[in-house]
């Protein structure tokens, strides 16, 4: 991209030095005078009624300053806790999953807090647990919540909503004539695919520190992906106006969607209010795995019809997400825009459900719900290619959606690079050549992600030394500060080092939506761009007044304004800033930018995995891996490649080794030994092939980048395993044992 001088360059992250030297401040690093330590009592039962809850002994322990239970939560007085989404639910009459918080203690040391937790007396009456989604959906199954009715997404409510149900969300999309579509098909395949809940695998466990100032303002330090949404949530929990809560951003040690959920901060804030002292809370790793929220497991049934030439005539898919013990985080919502959206399918039905069970509740994880549905869709495409004896990439190329097509959600596709991306992968694989080994196999798969679009503000301050300060309110979970600094540097023609990016707290920064949905750079860049243009316009007018010429004649280069190339009529932006704040100056230059919801800029990532299987043990080695992705424009290719490599690594883990193991609804593998994520030795170098079909809507053509590259990984690996062994695995994780069992089955038949 020669067009730009800083945008498009491979630059190291501006936060790197602080992070690798340990000087960056994370939630757990915040230490305040007189700080108390909080600890949560968690329920051990899968499903039970609380008969008695007695905290008197805990309260009497020396050093204990407060013990809170559900009855102390101000937010629960006026509304159902079910409406306080993405926060811990302190148990009221009953507990709906093992690990649910029942009470929280604040004490002068963590040791005392732990002892106090042991002294809390709870008597439970156990109820039969509901563990299976299909069982839970049946009308005769007793509802976990007597007052929960099904929410309908994008489809009219039916009679179903008149009775309480364990189906929290339901969505149906119908298009064309399904029956006629299947009639046209020469081949119809139907399969069911299953996945288990998986953990995001962020390094940093949840932590929070809260304090209350003399004015009654609650100040919270915690690793939220969205400080403004966190402020609203905590305010609702405490039943305070949002202006009484200030969220201070801190560094985040990985989030991937898991840290919109506020695992501790509301509890911590309430303890601070109760005690009038700062309170610190932190989760141990086993608490994070057991009681912070994983991504949902799923049961997906897909039926697809194709002509013998390999054109899809009809498809129906049913997606059932296991919501666990609380209903508020809908994945059905995402199924609407992200299921069967990247192919031309004239006749289709999409049905999705979020179904309650007595398991740990779930939350969003990198392209929420979408890797699960693509595991089904893209495995199915591979199975079809095999029956038709077609090249799997060719099958996808000839069915891929293009600009102007109508997505199942009714949206008209904007300019997209799906086809270019598939073709890029085809070219790459041709160059690479086919695999030689007997036990080796290659799998390809697409991953589609629609992307979210939200709102942001940005301030740009021009400093008197010619440097520029950008103030935003969005926490950096993906290198966003670096990419945004590149954009500011580009716009003013100044070096990166002259830009500082400040993530302000909620009292000082302009509004920011959370950093989710692959939209941080995509949307925020627009707000920042506009703030830059605003400041540039003000600078042009200052310069115009000085040289008595037309403002529109000024260009920016090397941190200066220059009038129509005339070196005589040129001035540094720092000089203008200095004059502007002088006694007779026009006032400081403050650029403001704000962006409403942009149209989405969806993209497809195409995966190709080469694996080798040890056919005696079932163990999979991923030999090499490549992803082609339409990124629109890579502001910082290093960072974009990192997103792709990180996403694929998570995908490899999800495919081969990760997954919650339950015993009667209780998580068994709650350590990083038995909740197994890949190490560097399990993952090959991942080639990122960046395709740049610019979007119409993003500044510079930017698209959503962070989530698309995880979506296709599960099916790519499953498809590769079938290529190597002939065994089709329809359930994750594809452990060595599962693969060996598959091989044995195959030998039998």
């Amino acid at each position: 991209m020669a067009k730009y001088s800083v945008v498009g360059k491979r630059v190291p992250r501006i936060d790197a030095l602080n992070k690798v030297t340990g000087t960056a401040v994370y939630s757990g690093d915040v230490i305040l005078p007189d700080m108390l330590y909080g600890k949560v009592l968690r329920n051990p039962h899968t499903h039970a009624i609380i008969q008695r809850l007695d905290v008197t002994k805990a309260q009497a322990l020396e050093g204990v300053k407060a013990v809170i239970t559900a009855s102390d939560v101000p937010g629960y007085q006026s509304r159902s806790p079910l409406l306080l989404a993405e926060m811990p639910h302190l148990a009221q009459e009953k507990v709906t999953y093992a690990g649910q918080p029942v009470a929280v203690v604040a004490a002068t040391s963590i040791e005392i807090a732990e002892k106090a937790v042991d002294l809390i007396e709870v008597e439970y009456e156990e109820l039969p647990p509901i563990l299976d989604v299909l069982e839970s959906m049946k009308p005769e199954t007793p509802p976990i919540y007597p007052d929960l009715y099904t929410n309908f997404i994008a489809s009219p409510p039916s009679d179903e909503d008149s009775t309480p149900s364990n189906i929290a969300y339901h969505m149906v999309i119908n298009r064309g004539d399904l029956e006629a579509g299947f009639k046209e098909a020469d081949l119809i395949l139907e399969n069911t695919f299953r996945t288990q809940p998986v953990h995001h695998g962020y390094l940093e466990p949840f932590a929070a520190v809260a304090s209350v100032d003399m004015g009654g303002k609650v100040i919270v330090w915690t690793q939220s992906q969205g400080v403004f949404t966190a402020r609203q949530m905590i305010a609702a929990f405490l039943d305070l106006p949002a202006s009484r809560v200030n969220l201070v951003p801190v560094e985040i040690g990985g989030a991937f969607g898991g840290k919109s959920f506020l695992a501790l901060a509301p509890l911590c804030a309430l303890l601070a209010l109760k005690t009038g002292r700062p309170v610190r809370m932190e989760m141990s790793r086993d608490e994070v795995i057991k009681a912070a929220r994983p991504a949902p497991g799923s049961v997906t049934t897909i039926k697809m019809g194709v002509t013998k030439e390999g054109y899809i005539t009809a498809a129906s898919i049913s997606l059932i997400y296991d919501a666990g013990g609380f209903p508020e985080m809908s994945h059905t919502m995402f199924a609407r825009g992200n299921t069967l959206s990247h192919y031309k399918i004239p006749n289709l039905k999409i049905e999705a459900f979020d179904v309650l069970t007595n398991k740990v509740p779930v939350t969003y994880y990198r392209a929420p719900g979408t890797p699960q549905n693509h595991f089904a869709v893209e495995s199915q495409m591979d199975l079809i290619a095999r029956v038709l004896d077609m090249d799997p990439l060719q099958l996808r190329i000839q069915n891929i959606a293009v600009e102007g097509d109508t997505a199942p959600s009714g949206e008209i596709l904007p300019k997209v690079g799906y086809k270019e991306t598939l073709e890029r992968m085809a070219e790459y694989l041709k160059e690479k050549g086919s695999l030689q080994g007997d036990d080796q196999g290659r799998g390809v798969a697409c991953g589609f992600w629609h992307g979210a679009t939200v709102t942001f503000g940005a301030y740009v301050h021009i400093n008197i030394d010619g440097s520029v300060t950008l103030v935003v309110g969005v926490t950096d979970v993906s290198g966003s500060r670096t990419s945004i600094a590149q954009i500011v540097a580009e716009e003013f023609g100044i070096p990166m080092e002259s830009v500082s990016v400040v993530v302000g707290d909620t009292d000082t920064a302009p509004w920011a939506s959370p950093s989710v949905g692959s939209q941080t750079i995509y949307s925020l860049s627009q707000a920042v761009y506009r703030a830059c243009q605003d400041a540039k316009e003000q600078l042009r007018h200052l310069a115009a007044a000085r040289f008595e010429v037309e403002a529109s004649g000024f260009e920016f280069a090397n941190g200066r304004l220059i009038f129509q190339g005339d070196a005589e009529k040129s001035i540094a932006i720092g000089s203008l800033a200095r004059y502007s704040i002088s006694f007779r100056g026009a006032g400081p230059v403050v650029g403001r930018g704000s962006i409403g919801g942009l149209p989405p800029a969806p993209s497809v990532a195409v995966h190709a995995a080469d694996v080798e299987i040890d056919k005696e043990t079932g163990k999979v080695k991923v030999l090499s891996y490549a992803v082609a992705q339409d990124v629109g424009l890579a502001v910082n290719p290093l960072s974009v490649e990192g997103q792709i490599q990180g996403a694929v690594t998570q995908g490899i883990g999800w495919a081969l080794m990760e997954g919650y193991q339950f015993d009667q609804g209780k998580v068994q593998n709650d350590t990083l030994l038995d909740y197994r994520m890949p190490t560097a030795t399990d993952v090959p170098m991942i080639d990122a092939l960046l395709v740049e079909v610019g979007s119409d809507s993003g500044i510079y053509g930017i698209r959503h980048v962070g989530e698309p590259p995880i979506v296709g990984a599960l099916a790519a690996i499953a498809n590769a395993i079938q290529s190597a062994t002939g065994v089709r695995i329809k359930e994750l994780p594809m452990t060595p044992e599962a693969i060996l069992n598959g091989l044995k089955e195959q030998n039998k038949s």
Partner: protein, 298 residues
């Protein structure tokens, strides 16, 4: 299910000599714990599985830092020598290949920089990676108390998961491993889902000694990890193999016998059935590897 919490207060001692250590152990009660690398111990303390009132850090005891080899006396591995040092010790690399293999797969480089072989076997996990190799090599443990020292044959060392033949007040001083006889070869292979930082689903060591005159096996040892309450020898399979000249069919039969001897359980890491299958595969592989080193098969 685990539950990590703060460690209770405990006394910490770091004696500078063997005598001092044995004195401390003599007077301290049963809830004193010896600390070597701490890669098992500290975790168990954080999980509240043990709550020692006294932790005796023995890393500074000179007698426990010995690492020596000579032809006659064999190998002496002091109880606090870190695993990484073993995996690079020339005599081990040259003569105890099987041991080098076992030590170099434990945990990660960081874990091996702290963890010790003595800690590995004193912790007595059924999956302890150094145990099958040590069993095959005929190793013994030298333990001492204020009443004197004794040697325990490793075959008699493991009692139950987490339980060994070391008595109260006793300390492991070193592990002795005789020099492997001429015309011998061995191999350790484990199966894990993840390449590193994982615990063996099954680990198998085989060690063969050849009669060069008639190309039969003078001695065969096979040891299995993670398929019984303790690391175990597959005596039946060994007896079957001893005295035979090796053929692919015989290897197959031995693998079958070893699998039948294994007594695995089903847990989070694998089913009993899968483990038995892995015993078959890994016995076969270790035998083939050892035989090919002895020039018996291609």
């Amino acid at each position: 299910m685990t539950s990590i919490r703060s460690i209770d207060r405990f006394e910490y001692r770091a004696p500078g000599s063997l005598d001092e250590t044995l004195d401390i152990l003599k007077t301290s009660g049963t809830d004193a714990k010896v600390l070597a690398g701490g890669t098992d111990l500290i975790l168990q303390m954080k999980q509240g599985l043990i709550r020692p009132s006294l932790v005796v850090d023995v890393k500074k005891v000179p007698e426990l830092n010995r690492l020596e080899w000579d032809e006659v006396g064999g190998l002496h591995v002091g109880a606090v020598v870190p695993l990484n040092k073993l995996a690079t010790f020339p005599a081990i690399l040259e003569r105890y290949n099987i041991l080098a293999q076992a030590c170099s797969v434990i945990g990660s480089a960081q874990v091996r920089n702290r963890g010790t072989m003595a800690g590995n076997i004193c912790n007595a996990a059924p999956s302890a990676d150094s145990a099958p190799a040590l069993l095959c090599l005929g190793a013994g443990a030298v333990v001492a108390s204020s009443n004197g020292a004794r040697s325990i044959d490793l075959n008699d060392f493991f009692v139950a998961p987490g339980e060994t033949a070391i008595g109260d007040g006793e300390l492991m001083v070193e592990i002795e491993v005789p020099t492997p006889p001429p015309h011998s070869a061995g191999c350790y292979i484990r199966h894990t889902t993840r390449e590193e930082m994982d615990i063996a689903v099954v680990g198998v060591a085989s060690f063969l000694t050849l009669s060069p005159q008639d190309k039969t096996l003078k001695e065969a040892r096979i040891a299995l990890g993670a398929v019984a309450p303790t690391p175990v020898r597959a005596h039946g399979a060994e007896a079957f193999l001893t005295g035979k000249s090796v053929t692919p069919d015989i290897i197959e039969e031995v693998a079958e016998k070893a699998a039948a001897e294994a007594n695995p359980i089903s847990d989070l890491r694998g089913s009993a059935e899968y483990r038995r299958e892995l015993v078959r595969v890994l016995v076969r592989r270790t035998l083939r590897e050892s035989c090919s080193e002895l020039g018996l098969i291609e």
